[in-house]
């Protein structure tokens, strides 16, 4: 009888722990379906890369993504005036992929901004490319067809402030502005960047 009571108590304790854990478990983030279709998928990263992903929705005042109000140097004031007041009127998604290729680590950030219309997204995309082309630290433009399928895009390579490479892809598809930024030591992630761009331009 005592043994039965002990087993029953043990089972009750285990069940209550399981219940509490299930009740408090946070559901994993689910991006809106249209954004999820465009964003990079785990299987698209190069073989041999270790990838740790953090993703979520974000706001114009959040400093963790590039097209934020706190990063005015991304688009110069002149271009900002040309664009108009909708520059920061978007729904934004960030996907921070921290990467390791066996020698070095870096970041492959995929950012998607949904505007009210295709025209708005295109206008911001073009302004971004114009600003990027004028940046003194741009040292390479990738040979990318202006339009692949339904995605218009441009890509370039910059020298970072700490001496690394920053690869940038700017693309638009309908009302979506797509950015891919790969940051790491010189030359380490260029192939990977090209591979990821290859996926994004065919969205």
């Amino acid at each position: 009888m005592k043994r039965l009571l002990l087993i029953a108590t043990g089972a009750a304790v285990l069940l209550s722990i399981l219940f509490v854990r299930l009740a408090t478990a946070r559901p994993s983030f689910q991006a809106p379906p249209e954004i999820a279709k465009i964003a990079l998928h785990p299987q698209e990263f190069p073989e041999g890369w270790t990838v740790r992903t953090r993703e979520g929705m974000t706001q114009p005042d959040d400093a963790r993504h590039p097209l934020s109000r706190v990063n005015p140097s991304l688009i110069s004031e002149t271009f900002q005036k040309e664009i108009g007041d909708f520059l920061y009127s978007y729904t934004a998604y960030y996907q921070e992929n921290y990467i390791w290729n066996g020698r070095y680590s870096g970041l492959a950030g995929n950012y998607i901004y949904q505007y009210a219309s295709e025209e708005q997204a295109q206008k911001v995309g073009e302004a971004l490319v114009n600003a990027a082309r004028q940046a003194p630290n741009l040292f390479k433009e990738y040979d990318l067809p202006a339009k692949n399928g339904s995605v218009w895009g441009w890509a370039g390579k910059f020298r970072g402030e700490e001496g690394g490479d920053v690869d940038l892809f700017v693309g638009t598809k309908g009302p979506f502005l797509i950015l891919l930024i790969v940051d790491g030591p010189p030359g380490e992630f260029q192939r990977g960047f090209e591979q990821l761009v290859g996926y994004l331009v065919h969205r």
């Binding site: 740790r52 953090r54 921290y98 390791w100 870096g106 700490e162």
Partner: protein, 127 residues
């Protein structure tokens, strides 16, 4: 007599309501310093197309920062920003310790000690 008393009371009230009187009252403690560990290491902010990384602390006005991973503070001296005591603080409330890339994060596998928030410790104002 009644008039004089009323006049004195009005004068006393005016003096007590003056800014000098309020400023002279003893300051109320609104916070304290605590030694805390960071809760996150991730992208902190961007300059143009380039991301910069930071160790995030709860609180404000970070100072006296230390690295608790292998090699301690001395290990940080090979980073592009020099030893950890020279690393900058960022953010409206200076609660993000900027973490360099060269000679530090870039050479560390993901999940390694340099990516671990709990390896960064600092004095933080909790208010």
């Amino acid at each position: 007599m009644y008039r004089v008393t009323r006049l004195l009371m009005v004068i006393a009230l005016l003096i007590m309501a003056s800014p000098q009187f309020i400023a002279a009252s003893p300051p109320q403690p609104t916070g304290f310093w605590a030694s805390l560990r960071a809760y996150d290491v991730r992208v902190a902010y961007w300059t143009g197309v380039e991301p910069h990384y930071g160790a995030f602390f709860q609180g404000a006005y970070g100072r006296d920062q230390h690295y608790l991973g292998p090699g301690g503070d001395d290990a940080t001296c090979a980073s592009s920003s020099g030893c950890i005591r020279f690393w900058n603080w960022w953010g409206t409330y200076y609660s993000v310790l900027l973490v360099p890339k060269w000679g530090w994060l870039w050479t560390e596998p993901l999940g390694g000690p340099k990516w671990q928030p709990s390896n960064y410790q600092a004095m933080i104002w909790i208010g």
